[in-house]
């Protein structure tokens, strides 16, 4: 049995790639080691409640019919209609630093006016920065690393404003500490600050259900609980995979969303320096279910990015969690037609992956989770109203959880600091898509799958 394309990983990129290929009549097999689909953006049920794993917000919001926007391009490529994802826009988000708050909605002009109000001497520079971003082509074929910080400093002189802009962008995309590549900065600036946030009423389940139904409807084959043990190669060409159970599947091409180093580990010979190419940025998140809505407590923010100090640090911390900054997200605070069944507040903070991965004792791990989640919540009180007495259930994920369910080394949410924009590897017929190809976020992941399928598998 030979497939046209074997895809490793049924996350958003693998599913999107699978739809493209199956739609054009390829024989496609999508392999997923976990018991369900979604990868970094998955879902689960615990104590009779539904949870989303990675989803805070779907970025890249675009209205129906706004044809040039990435969201709508992606829908066209997947032959989906705008209504399929049932996206509801956010209420309002903010970046909160000591003595300064910038509010933002899906109307970018609010942020522009907030900058002008809080940083009058930077307003002109900010407008020129935005113009430079509007004119920049992040997909141009340019080599080498370009520092986004250096670019920003050509326009802004106030480090507080610089940090307040970097805070949401780094938190929602960066596999590298404190700075990121300018191309990625531009993509994320557009996707979260200019286009903005939305969410389906049902969360990530809605998007995944639409994708898997489409994939199967086009004749794609999905195998859950089916891990890949090894990529088979002969004379520098990949020709198939050996599964965990020893079975061999042959394919004309292999598209891997497992990650750069994770994919390398499936191959006979290494092609990148493992230590340098393994990501370091991971998070702990506490998900609290409340007995009332966040709005009842006076909290209306969709996503709040905060830093307790003006000098925002985005790096692997030396402590189990980094209490200097964080993200507060409430899935209830979107413009839904009906209120959600559960009321939740998620608090996320940078974490030291080694601390979490090295706890051997299960009881100790549970204790550490609880202790640090409590500290994260206490730390956020003041920025959100005190909701501690309203918590009726709680779940916590750590770098260990991420590693266990996604296979990402170090539980690195944004994968490797080294992105392979071309998607190629030294092996012929083995390509990468997903986080380590370079497009991030839910929409970015799907675009990665689509563009790699188009470029390498549809010829």
């Amino acid at each position: 049995m030979q497939y046209d394309t074997i895809i490793i990983g049924a996350g958003l990129s693998g599913l999107a790639a699978g739809i493209r290929l199956a739609y054009y009549d390829q024989k496609v097999c999508l392999l997923e080691r976990h018991t369900t689909i979604g990868g970094l953006n998955s879902f689960y049920r615990l104590r009779h409640r539904d949870y989303d794993v990675g989803l805070h917000a779907v970025t890249n919001y675009a209205e129906k019919g706004d044809r040039s926007k990435p969201l709508n391009k992606l829908l066209r490529q997947l032959r989906l209609s705008w209504d399929d994802f049932a996206l509801c826009p956010q209420i309002e988000s903010s970046v909160v630093f000591p003595d300064c708050t910038l509010r933002m909605t899906n109307d970018f002009e609010l942020l522009r006016s907030q900058v002008a109000e809080c940083f009058p001497d930077q307003a002109d520079g900010f407008n020129r920065l935005v113009q430079s971003i509007d004119e920049f082509n992040p997909f141009a074929d340019t080599e080498g690393y370009l520092s986004a910080r250096e670019h920003i400093r050509k326009f802004l002189t106030d480090p507080l404003l610089e940090n307040m802009l970097f805070c949401p962008i780094l938190f929602y995309s960066s596999a590298t500490p404190n700075d990121l590549d300018l191309r990625q900065f531009v993509i994320i600036f557009r996707s979260i600050l200019q286009e903005g946030f939305s969410r389906p009423q049902e969360g990530i389940r809605r998007i995944l259900r639409v994708l898997v139904k489409k994939f199967r409807g086009e004749g794609g084959e999905l195998k859950l609980r089916t891990g890949v043990n090894r990529i088979l190669e002969k004379n520098g060409t990949a020709y198939g995979v050996e599964l965990d159970n020893g079975e061999v599947l042959e394919g004309k091409r292999i598209l891997s969303s497992a990650g750069l180093v994770e994919t390398q580990r499936l191959c006979e010979k290494p092609f990148v320096e493992e230590k340098a190419a393994t990501g370091d940025i991971s998070f702990v998140e506490s998900i609290s279910t409340l007995d009332c809505s966040p709005a009842d407590l006076g909290h209306h923010g969709t996503v709040v990015f905060f830093s307790n100090q003006t000098d925002f640090c985005y790096e692997r911390p030396s402590t189990p969690v980094d209490l200097r900054s964080g993200i507060i997200c409430s899935p209830n605070n979107y413009q839904f037609e009906e209120p959600l069944e559960d009321n939740k507040i998620n608090i996320t903070a940078l974490a030291d992956h080694q601390y979490w991965l090295n706890i051997d004792d299960e009881e100790q791990y549970q204790q550490a989770k609880q202790e640090h989640a409590t500290a994260m919540i206490e730390n956020a009180i003041g920025i959100v109203p005190d909701f501690q007495n309203h918590i009726i259930d709680q779940d916590i994920f750590t770098p260990r959880t991420i590693k266990k369910f996604t296979g990402h080394l170090n539980g690195a949410v944004y994968g490797s600091p080294t992105k392979q924009l071309s998607g190629t590897t030294p092996l012929d017929n083995l390509y990468l898509c997903g986080t380590d190809q370079g497009f991030l976020g839910i929409i970015g992941a799907m675009l990665s799958g689509i563009s790699m399928a188009n470029a390498h598998c549809l010829k």
């Binding site: 054009y24 019919g65 044809r67 040039s68 989906l80 209609s81 689509i450």
Partner: protein
């Protein structure tokens, strides 16, 4: 298929590529791109759809023939004249 039937097939493909577009006022003599902002990914899809449906292979050097509805129909007619209309 005659020319009118081919035109309907192209309209159907465009509708599939861009389900939210209103194609009722499409001008057959004007480039698709001016009326629908099709990017290169979408354009490739017209070619791929024709291949999927009718096994017609369109070489890259012939892509300029697919700029407007009129030129597309003219180009495809000899290739599809013996194919039965789907409708």
């Amino acid at each position: 298929m005659n020319e009118e039937q081919i035109r309907l097939v192209i309209l159907d493909i465009l509708d599939k590529i861009a389900p939210d577009e209103d194609l009722s006022d499409l001008d057959d003599s004007q480039p698709f791109r001016d009326q629908m902002e099709l990017d290169s990914m979408d354009f490739l899809d017209i070619v791929m759809e024709l291949r999927k449906r009718y096994r017609v292979q369109i070489p890259e050097e012939d892509y300029p023939n697919l700029v407007t509805m009129d030129s597309t129909v003219t180009y495809l007619h000899p290739l599809l004249k013996d194919v039965e209309s789907p409708a």
